[in-house]
């Protein structure tokens, strides 16, 4: 069971990848789905045993690295947080595999797609069940590779290739910090296995490196890694571009799983970063800023997938500021509910794109809700959950996160609460802007496209319905365990709050207007969305015209790409070329070539009988040898 949940996807990946062409496209795809489903069953059983049965399990698989006190093993660490993640990942991945059978049916190489998808799932599972930082890094880089392959899946498109490279390289910037964090962890604790680290925290609190407490620096460095993977402001630029991949990829990787790896890392390392107050403040600040910043951009984008991508970025910000105020449980709770409704939104968007003959620009949609009513309903459910409307999944988790921010200490927590509230309003606004522009109003596509608009086949709508059930009920079902009165027994020590961190308790003691506020913000956002795009559609245009600077600033995504291009990409290119043509060719090679030319001409004069370069060089060598031996003898004679 424990092994199966992790390794069935790998088996599926190998079979579809290596033998896909022999087996044939359709059977190979269903084999992939079959192994994923097996894995999901194992995942669910494990969740009941480990998390609900309070029985953590360790499965040892062998040694990986063992060098001079640095011991790293391959092992599966099933505790509550891992079991919850495994159950979520396998379930959603299974749904997305099934959906992909329909979505990729017109593709030329669907087995390759399935192989990548299963490989991704395996790597993600290795990440969440890791027993040490290095194995976590194995999964971490593995999902990076799978994400690179999937973003660039349509490799004949230049834009896809560019986006794939960008994703990998921006993630690598974060990975450098992760790697340094691992090195410092080893320096501080003498081990990178979680048990050893967690036991050594008390002893390590006095250690400093360069005047900075080592634990603070570890937290900063690991968060640097998390910022890359989870697309926090500064290292977020890859995520919107990653929408070049097929839509099921966006749903699985760039909404539900990969991007949440950073949040998971923070929660997994909670026993350490709990003792890094400055780093936590920084995490809160970055998370809150990201939540706000991504939401503002989401309001003006015109690509259906990019709007949802920025929404993901923004929701990840919520998770991080929950981590920052010490409510890791809330962060994981939001992570899981978000996985359901965001995957649902993406797959629904995929269904729309499928129906609209691969059109993604919402300015060219509209008037299709009667033609694809099921997708339309799914989109509504996803959006209601995202906006935090009562009794949908997002309501429970987002409310809790905001309550925790309100109850948190320090100015960063207050900042997070304010930013979170504004972002909640914006979230509801752009979600309904998206719904109305996509489904309502007059059709803006040409009649060829409109004639072909059709509801997706059952193989695609069935996963939608399963995810919709999750988006409807997962919040209500899980709230008690994750953040309600059973939380202490449920988490069973897999997430640690330090003794004077009472956030889990305080979050329930906030004034009564606080739990209501996100709902009000959501409803106001929806109302504004209706006014702007349904009832008085002239307003958005007029607003854009009266604030052209602000509009362009948002439309161009706060100019991050341009900034990075100017600061990093172009200078690096120029420097690279300069180092090659001047540094290597002129300076370094200039010396020996110049010397050679010099000796050649000199030798040419001295030894007229021997012409040609061989002799010249040989002559140089002999002169050199004589010189050296003379010095040597001189040394001995002294």
């Amino acid at each position: 069971m424990y092994l199966g949940a992790i390794f069935f996807p790998l088996i599926g990946s190998l079979i579809t990848g290596l033998f896909g062409r022999l087996i044939g496209d359709k059977p190979a795809q269903w084999i992939g789905v079959f192994f994923m489903a097996l894995s999901a069953i194992c995942g669910a059983v494990n969740f009941f045993n480990v998390a609900l049965g309070h029985a953590p399990v360790m499965v040892d698989l062998g040694t990986w690295i063992d060098v001079g006190g640095l011991q790293v093993s391959w092992a599966l660490r099933y505790d509550t947080i891992a079991a919850a993640m495994v159950a979520m990942v396998t379930l959603i991945s299974t749904m997305i595999h099934i959906y992909s059978v329909g979505y990729m049916s017109h593709d030329a190489t669907p087995t390759r797609f399935f192989s990548y998808l299963s490989l991704f799932t395996f790597m993600m599972l290795m990440l969440v069940t890791a027993d040490n930082l290095a194995q976590l890094f194995f999964g971490w880089e593995g999902i990076g590779l799978a994400s690179y392959l999937l973003i660039g899946y349509w490799y004949e498109r230049e834009s896809a290739n560019r986006a794939a490279m960008k994703a990998f390289i921006v993630n690598r910037v974060g990975d450098l910090f992760f790697m340094m964090g691992m090195a410092l962890t080893f320096w501080t604790f003498g081990t990178i296995e979680f048990d050893g680290i967690f036991q050594g925290v008390a002893a390590a609190q006095d250690k400093t490196i360069g005047g900075i407490p080592a634990i603070e620096l570890i937290a900063f460095l690991l968060f640097g890694g998390a910022m890359g993977k989870s697309a926090q402001i500064g290292l977020h630029t890859w995520l919107p571009d990653a929408m070049e991949g097929p839509t099921p990829v966006s749903a699985l990787i760039h909404a539900a799983t990969l991007v949440t790896a950073g949040v998971f890392l923070m929660a997994r390392m909670s026993p350490v970063i709990e003792y890094a107050p400055n780093a936590l403040g920084f995490i809160t600040f970055i998370g809150a800023t990201t939540a706000f910043f991504a939401a503002t951009i989401g309001c003006v984008q015109n690509d259906i997938k990019r709007v949802i991508a920025y929404s993901t970025c923004s929701q990840l910000g919520y998770m991080f500021f929950a981590v920052g105020v010490g409510a890791y449980q809330g962060a994981i709770f939001h992570l899981i509910t978000h996985a359901f409704f965001k995957a649902l939104l993406f797959l629904s968007a995929g269904s729309v794109i499928h129906a609209m003959s691969d059109e993604q620009d919402i300015r060219k949609m509209g008037g299709i809700w009667r033609k694809i009513p099921l997708t339309y309903a799914m989109f509504w459910i996803g959006s209601l959950a995202l906006a935090g409307i009562p009794f949908f999944a997002g309501y429970y988790s987002k409310d809790f996160v905001l309550e925790a921010a309100y109850a948190g200490h320090g100015w960063t927590a207050s900042y997070a609460f304010v930013m979170g509230m504004i972002a909640a309003l914006l979230t509801a606004f752009y979600s309904w802007r998206l719904i109305i522009m996509t489904f309502h109003g007059k059709p803006r596509a040409d009649h060829h496209v409109m004639e072909h608009v059709h509801e997706s086949p059952a193989v695609m709508t069935l996963p939608l319905i399963v995810l919709a059930i999750g988006a409807l009920f997962s919040g209500a079902l899980l709230a008690d365990y994750f953040v309600g009165h059973d939380w202490l027994a449920f988490w069973n020590g897999s997430i640690v709050n330090q003794p004077n961190n009472h956030i889990m308790h305080d979050a329930h003691e906030v004034p009564s207007w606080v739990p209501l506020a996100p709902t009000v913000a959501g409803v106001v956002g929806i109302a504004v969305g209706y006014i702007f795009y349904m009832f008085v559609p002239a307003i958005p245009g007029r607003l854009a015209a009266s604030f052209p600077g602000l509009y362009r600033f948002l439309l161009n995504k706060w100019y991050f790409d341009e900034l990075y291009d100017a600061i990093f990409v172009q200078p690096a290119r120029k420097l690279a070329f300069w180092l090659w043509k001047v540094g290597d060719a002129k300076v370094i090679d200039g010396m020996p070539n110049g010397a050679a030319a010099l000796t050649a001409s000199a030798a040419g004069r001295v030894t007229r009988f021997q012409n040609g370069r061989v002799a010249n060089y040989a002559f140089t060598m002999i002169i050199g040898l004589v010189l050296f031996v003379s010095i040597f003898l001189f040394g001995i004679g002294r």
Binding site: T63, I65, I169, L184, A572, W580, M621
Partner: protein, 503 residues
């Protein structure tokens, strides 16, 4: 005295030479000679590889002593002798050499069509030199083999190379020879001081501090060029570009390791104080190498040149690891040398595959190859990932261990060396994207054939090793664990002496 019961190392060293001797006597029509030469060379190298597996299975990993030792006195009055043996540091390099040679011969099966017999002779002589160098326990023998490697390599590049082969061959020869002469000087000094050239005997020598510094510089001149370290690296891209595919594989796979091996065998154990004193300089050069050459690699238009520059960057990690002088760093450096031997060798083979078909190394001539050569694309992707040190591939453990080790000495050094993670991804993915991805726009690309069975055979062992070294590196690190421990203990003890004296 000898675990194998027969002179295994001598056999390994000189069997290729016997093969080369047999090749000399092949007579007949040119096509027949070529075919016979290929098969003879292949069988010889395979037999050598098979024999060398004895090392893998019966090497005693618990001790740092020399094993499979063969010793004969030759001129006892001068302290000269014939002395072979391997310890944990050298044994895997012997295996690396015996593994790569048959692969190289297979890789040249069709691409070399002129003077096949001479080519194969050169390769077998090269194998003798490489194995002899790693197995020598006598300093003079070491020097002879160390220099001897240059001769067949010079010929392989100069005769079977590309357009500017003569320039490249001379550049290689001169750079490395000038350094070696200084090393010869150091060796002569050592001989003069100790009265023997036996390496185990030399290790007992106490060398005065300022003498250590001079000798370190002399050894450094030779090994730094071989590694190659910045700024004496420019011979490598030229040599790689002009060398035939198999030449590049050996050059990157084994010859570059001679420098790192030299540091480990001589500089570090013999000259502990100088090692300590020069370490900051080496760190600086290594970090510059990593960042500088990675950037230069990004600007390259020639596939082989790009991979050549990436080799310099990877070897920067190696020299860094050797001189941080802790267990992680040293093990990481040795592991990185081995994995780089496999991975960069494989990458050069990958370039060779398309070069054989299109006859161009220029990146712009390609694009969209993945469409017509899917299997090749998968292999190339795997080795690309190993080159950027993705965990689970051979490239990761070495880089990881070196960075962890470097952090303990100086976090900033580790941080800047870590830039190889980012820059490495930049140039390798940029290469991959331009060659394999994209739409096919050139006609000559449209009809390329995927890997032939022979090419499959050359890649198969490298694929297995890349994954094996990535997933279970312990089976390799366990070979040199005891030796590294002994080396460190020796280093600590040697440094403690002058410290005590100073007190």
């Amino acid at each position: 005295m000898n675990a194998a019961g027969f002179p295994l190392l001598s056999l390994l060293t000189f069997l290729p030479l016997v093969g080369a001797g047999i090749l000399l006597f092949i007579r007949g029509e040119e096509a027949v000679v070529a075919s016979n030469a290929r098969w003879t060379a292949l069988w010889t190298s395979l037999i050598v590889f098979g024999l060398s597996l004895i090392l893998w299975f019966s090497f005693d990993k618990t001790t740092a002593d020399y094993q499979f030792v063969e010793q004969m006195t030759w001129m006892p009055e001068f302290g000269l002798g014939y002395h072979l043996g391997v310890d944990g540091i050298s044994v895997l390099f012997v295996l690396l050499s015996t593994l790569l040679t048959p692969i190289c011969i297979l890789a040249s099966w069709e691409s070399v069509q002129t003077r096949v017999r001479e080519y194969m002779i050169a390769f077998l002589v090269l194998e003798t030199m490489m194995i002899g160098m790693f197995a020598s326990l006598d300093m003079l023998m070491f020097y002879i083999f160390f220099e001897g490697v240059l001769v067949p390599m010079f010929l392989i590049i100069g005769v079977w190379g590309g357009a500017r082969r003569v320039y490249a061959a001379y550049k290689l020869f001169l750079y490395t020879l000038l350094g070696s002469l200084l090393m010869l000087l150091a060796i002569l000094t050592l001989w003069y001081m100790a009265g023997t050239t036996s390496i185990p005997e030399l290790m007992k020598l106490q060398i005065p501090r300022n003498m250590q510094i001079w000798m370190f510089l002399a050894f450094f001149a030779s090994f730094a060029v071989k590694v190659p370290m910045w700024p004496v690296h420019t011979w490598l891209p030229d040599a790689h570009v002009e060398a035939p595919t198999a030449g590049s594989v050996i050059l990157a796979g084994v010859l570059l390791k001679m420098g790192g091996y030299g540091f480990l065998r001589f500089s570090v154990p013999l000259l502990p104080e100088a090692t300590e004193w020069f370490a900051p300089l080496i760190f600086a050069l290594s970090v510059i190498a990593v960042i500088y050459t990675s950037l230069v690699a990004m600007a390259q238009e020639d596939m082989k040149k790009l991979i050549a520059y990436s080799s310099v960057a990877h070897m920067g990690i190696v020299t860094l690891g050797i001189f941080v002088m802790n267990h992680q760093g040293l093990s990481g450096a040795i592991f990185q040398m081995l994995s780089h031997g496999i991975v960069s060798g494989a990458l050069f083979l990958c370039v060779g595959v398309v070069y054989d078909r299109v006859h161009s190394r220029e990146i712009n001539r390609y694009g969209g190859v993945a469409k017509v050569m899917p299997v090749y694309a998968v292999l190339f992707m795997g080795f690309t990932m190993a080159s950027v040190a993705l965990p689970g591939t051979a490239g990761f453990p070495g880089e990881f261990l070196v960075l962890v080790g470097a952090w303990q000495v100086n976090p900033w050094v580790a941080f800047f060396a870590g830039f190889s993670m980012i820059l490495g991804a930049c140039y390798m993915l940029w290469l991959y994207r331009r060659v394999l991805f994209g739409r096919i726009t050139k006609d000559e690309i449209k009809h390329l054939l995927d890997l032939s069975p022979r090419e499959w055979l050359t890649f198969a062992p490298l694929v297995v090793l890349t994954l094996w070294m990535g997933l279970y590196p312990s089976s390799f690190t366990s070979f040199f664990d005891a030796s590294v421990t002994a080396l460190l203990a020796r280093h600590e003890a040697a440094l403690a002496l002058p410290r005590l004296a100073g007190m």
